[in-house]
Symmetry: C2
Subunit: 179 residues, 2 copies
């Protein structure tokens, strides 16, 4: 897995390990393009990496309904600049707090490319809660959970529900059959 | 000038016309990369365009001090999603309302590349004011003006102060001597 984010790698490794797939960490420099769909960003990233072994990249985003999917593909940039309190300020007085996470796992082996998506719906919490996970996890309450934010969950609880785990399980199911 | 933004082209054309330079409009598809410095984005754009005649691209951003320069290079994306009222919500209760616009004009002729920067400082207004200009103009009050937003100014008033006009004048001064 080519990434500069150790958190992402850790989550992916745990999910795939349960399926008997061993994932290695690969640090690479790459430019990311501006695009609305994480699959476009991930696809462009794939093409920049010269590697004969099969490898994958993952791109994810946090999408706030009221703001037309903002910050979406720029989630990490926005978080770095605005921080979680800034995102919560943007939600002050907004009734529609629905949000979702999307993940795209993009796989390449030689000329073959495959994309696997994962998705989780939920809402933006009223305050920052929990220290687990990373990114927007402390302000995201998944619909299928018990009202906890991803930040308040243990890694395996988050992996039972998360967009990233779902995308990687979808990849893993295909890979164990075809890889 | 390669752009998909007619407003930008119009401002650039007017500024360069005063210097005796005729600017033509050139519509091209290009990917934009994610980068903090508009010069990096503009440079990458230059390299994607195959053109024997001299041409230029411009990249600009709106930088809010309190939010560490957000939205910066993602200004047009953020505006499209969050809209001006969302940006003003983000500024509610924030004392430091300083902001600036930056522009980079990137010129290419054969193998030669040149970059020209323009800059204007000011503050974020408390409400959306004026219908002139485009983008963040209705919420930006330049320090050197009379308290009006760019959106409340006539085109020539804005061009006397704006980041884009400054970058293009800097380019024009060089081009008339060297182009």
């Amino acid at each position: 897995m080519a990434t500069s984010n150790r958190h992402k790698y850790g989550e992916a490794r745990d999910v795939l390990a349960e399926m008997g797939i061993k994932l290695e960490y690969m640090e690479v420099e790459r430019v990311e393009i501006q695009a609305d769909d994480p699959a476009d960003i991930a696809s462009y990233s794939l093409d920049q990496i010269q590697e004969v072994k099969p490898f994958l990249v993952e791109d994810a985003g946090f999408y706030i309904e009221h703001y037309n999917g903002f910050p979406g593909p720029y989630s990490s940039y926005v978080l770095q600049k605005v921080r979680l309190p800034g995102v919560l300020k943007l939600m002050e007085g907004i009734d529609d707090r629905r949000a979702s996470f999307k993940s795209v796992v993009a796989y390449k082996h030689g000329e073959e490319k495959r994309f696997f998506r994962g998705f989780v719906t939920g809402s933006v919490s009223l305050s920052v809660r929990g220290t687990g996970g990373f990114g927007y996890d402390p302000i995201f309450i998944p619909d299928e959970g018990d009202g906890s934010t991803f930040g308040e969950m243990a890694a395996d609880e988050k992996n039972a529900l998360s967009h990233r785990a779902r995308a990687f399980r979808s990849f893993g199911a295909w890979f164990t059959g075809n890889g």
